[in-house]
Every structure is written in structure tokens, then in C-alpha cells.
Symmetry: D2
Subunit: 148 residues, 4 copies
């Protein structure tokens, strides 16, 4: 399953080159994976309240084109890797109505216990959520977006 | 007492007008009051760990001039109001070596219990800190910066 | 005329108090006035390309309640003051489906020439846009949202 | 040559996990390479005014540990790749006084003409700056920080 989130570039997100600052794309990735997780019938907020947090361990962004103030964009997100210890998401950012991405990326997250900040075995601790995510990953249509 | 904090404008803080985005000044105010509180011998982090948080209830900024990428600025901060329920800070942002501010502002904060998110009587709960802040406010040299 | 823009709180917009950081509200105001201006049939982007920029000269925010990650909010914006030299917007942020604001604010902007960064007489330079904005302001239904 | 820039974590840079939000590290990288370039005797601002901009084409961050509000950090930056068309920087973020990084990363930038937004041959257009950067890269002491 690939989710699609719509964003419009905010003025504050531009820089003096007149384009969206590169540090904004990871923030868009984040709202896209929030939307993706919601499709499972749970929310990140519920996950955190249940004691699971998912800090980043790795971030990769490729900037292919630029975006500008007021541009309407679609951010696609999908799960591209899952283990008991980690989850990896893939992303594509396209202009609304276009299929060629202006940006692609990936983020790797650890499953971490919110109280101890220690690694957690997601498969054992929340087997149902784990299974739901696993199925979501498998449903990725072929040919799925190329992972970065 | 008036603290002075040095900041250099970051690229990400600019917008497509080629100037520092206005939403950045409140963030500079925040680091300036962090520095001011440190002069009391305590840190915001210690305050929060002791159970006191200070969410904003009011923010006022006046933009007199502009700043640009790589500009070196001084952010002055001082306490300009204190009650058992609230604290108010004043701010001035100047270019390094200049005395005329390019920006002035103020923030009003509530003393709030970190666990309950309810108002707290700072004077009763932490009388020593309260007294320290009160003295800091009185030490404001005259003529002190004009509050906004 | 009062525009309404929908925002969902992003994870990056939260701080360690677990609430939306106060510096984010001015950014939401900005996207709300972008939407408001669009209702005139023009865009901020077109205005800037025509040589008009509108840097802030004054910002005021009142924080009445808090918002948290994933909260769905409505940001209302309207014009509450207009002269040849300046324009003032008013704002209210409410939870979706509620009418009591959690935040109210206002921003005052100068009409400035993009090339010279000097004040500009908007009424003379772009009389049609000026008139459009003036009418938009007058259409504010009574009782309109209380200006801050 | 490896530059070292000091940063103190700002409150606004934290998120509801109580740690620095991951999107902040690329902003720290940016101020670190600003400082590195200054060591050449030129500034980014001068480069941009001369018609060269350097948009990102690739960003990679590895998050090894966390940082928190008020933490004092050192951001190291160095040039780790240079061609007529591109420049690559490497980064390490350490706690002040420690040598083990909590974060490492790299950014790849294109040399782009500010007016046309088209690729530019830096070696031909600004041979002196190019040579200065090349020498700076060669001066990287061995063993230099491991590039990511």
C-alpha cells in the first residue's frame, strides 16, 4: 500500500534561493508516514501512548527537482523494510498531476521503548500491529515505486 | 540584568524575500531567555525536571529592520514582569556592534505544572527561584531597554 | 470575508512539552493569509512577481489553549485593516468542529517594493488589487471574529 | 581541513520525544559548511552574490545517539569530494568534549548558476575558488574523519 498526502509549499519553507529548503522534505516524509500508518487503523499518537517510539536511525534524500512557494505536491509513502527491531519507509514527492518525482527518499527507524529509550522487539510486544504493517508492505503493488 | 546572546543567521532561516523569516525571531527570543535563566545558576532543563513548564500565553514582535544570512546579531533578554502565576520577558535584537534594535518583542508565560498542565503558584512552590528571578528583574539597570 | 484553512499538526511542530511549539502559529497564519488572498483571484506568488512584497512589521499571538501532534485545526484569516502603506490581518485557530479559538493573532505588513525594499503606495501602484482587498475587508460579516 | 562549529540545542528544535528532531541536523550541517567556507577567506554570501548557488542533490544522515535541549555540540565539516560540477561535504556531530559522534552525514551539492538555475562549471568559472577548495580538501589530515 502506498499512501498519498497533499502538501502546499509554505512561505516559511522557502529559502533565499527562492526554493523549498532541503530540510523541509524530511518533515513532509514524516507527515506522509503519519498518513500511511493511519490506514492501518491506528495512529502514531496511539502507538506512542502505548509505549512505542520510532526515532530515526537513517535518512536519505535525493533532490531531483525543486519546488517553490504555493506549489501543490503529493508525497507518497510506503513500508519498504520491516524487522522486529526496525522499519524502513520509502518516499516520493511529485507535483500534483505529474508522475515523475522531484524528490525521493527513505528513512530507517528503530522500534524503541518510550520509557527506557531502549530497543524493543516489536514483533513480540505488539504482534498484531507488526502483522498489520507486514501485510501493508506485502500489498505494495508491483511494480512498486523504486526504493532509493 | 540583561543577558546578551549571539546568533548568526542560518541559511534555513531565510525565506524567498532574502531575509530572515519572521517566525525565527521568537526562536531567538527563546534561546536568549534560556541564557538569561542560566545566569541565575539554574537551567530551564532543571526547571522542567523539577516539574515546572512555562508555555507561552502571549507573544509580541515588532520588526523594525531586516536581517540576512550570515548576519551576526545580539539578542538581549530581561525579565520585565513577574507574578506568582506569570512571567514576562522583554527582548531586543541588534546587529553586533550597533545599539539600535532591528527587532523588539515580549513574551508572557504561565507557570504550569508539568504533570497536570495546570497553573502553578511559582512563589509558593519554588520560593527561592522566584526570589532569584525577582531580584534579577530589579537589577535591570536604569535606563533599561524600553519594554515593548 | 473570512477564509478557513485546515492544518494537521506535524510531528516536527511539537516540542518537548508535548505541544505545538509557539513559533509554529505564525507559520499557520501565513498559510491562512495565502489562502485568503487566493480568494481574490490572485496569488501571493503573482503579487511578488509583480514587484510587491509584504514583510511583517508587527506580530501578535495569544495562546489560549494548546494543540498536539495529529490534531486537526482550522485557521481563520481575514483583513482587519488597510491603508496605502500597510495591511493588517486577523487570525483565529480552532479545533475542527469547535468554535472557541485556542489561539488568536494579528499581523501587520508593509507594502514594499521588491526591488528597492522601500515602502510602496499600494493604492496608487495596484489600484485594482487594493480595491479588491478593501471590498474583501468590508464583506466581513458582522459580528465578525473579534480582532485581537 | 576540518572546521568545528559549536551549537547549543534550542527548545524549538526538540520534539515530543524529548530529543532534537531529526530534521534539525541538516540545518546544523549547513551552518557548519558556512563556517568551513569562511576559512577559505570567502563567504557563501559572496559566492551567491557572484552568481553561484549550491542546491542540494543528495543528503544522508545517520543518527547514532540523541541530543537534547541545552546540549552543547560540536559540528565538524570537511570537503570530501569535488568536481567541476559538484561538491560533497562530510559531517560529524559530537557532544562538546567527546570524540564519538552522535550523528554523521554527508551532503552533495551542484554548482548552479544563480540566474539560470542551470549547472555551472565551477572549475572554469571561478578557478581560484575551485583551487582553494581543492587544497582545503587535500589538507584533510590523515586519518581524517570517516566519510559516511
Amino acid at each position: 500500500m502506498v499512501s498519498e498526502s497533499k502538501v502546499t509549499v509554505r512561505y516559511a519553507e522557502t529559502d533565499q534561493m527562492g526554493i523549498t529548503h532541503h530540510s523541509v522534505y524530511p518533515i513532509w516524509y514524516e507527515l506522509a508516514r503519519t498518513d500511511l500508518i493511519k490506514k492501518l487503523g491506528i495512529t502514531y499518537t496511539q502507538m506512542e501512548q502505548s509505549g512505542v517510539i520510532t526515532p530515526l536511525v537513517d535518512l536519505h534524500c535525493r533532490y531531483i527537482g525543486v519546488s517553490r512557494y504555493e506549489d501543490e505536491l503529493i508525497v507518497k509513502a510506503w513500508v519498504q523494510g520491516l524487522t522486529a527491531a526496525r522499519i524502513e519507509f520509502g518516499y516520493e514527492v511529485c507535483r500534483a498531476g505529474e508522475s515523475k518525482p522531484i524528490n525521493t527518499g527513505s528513512t530507517m527507524h528503530a522500534w524503541v521503548d518510550a520509557k527506557t529509550f531502549r530497543p524493543m522487539n516489536m514483533k513480540k510486544r505488539f504482534p498484531q500491529w507488526f502483522e498489520g504493517i507486514r501485510q501493508m508492505m506485502e500489498e505494495n503493488s508491483k511494480p512498486c515505486p523504486k526504493t532509493y
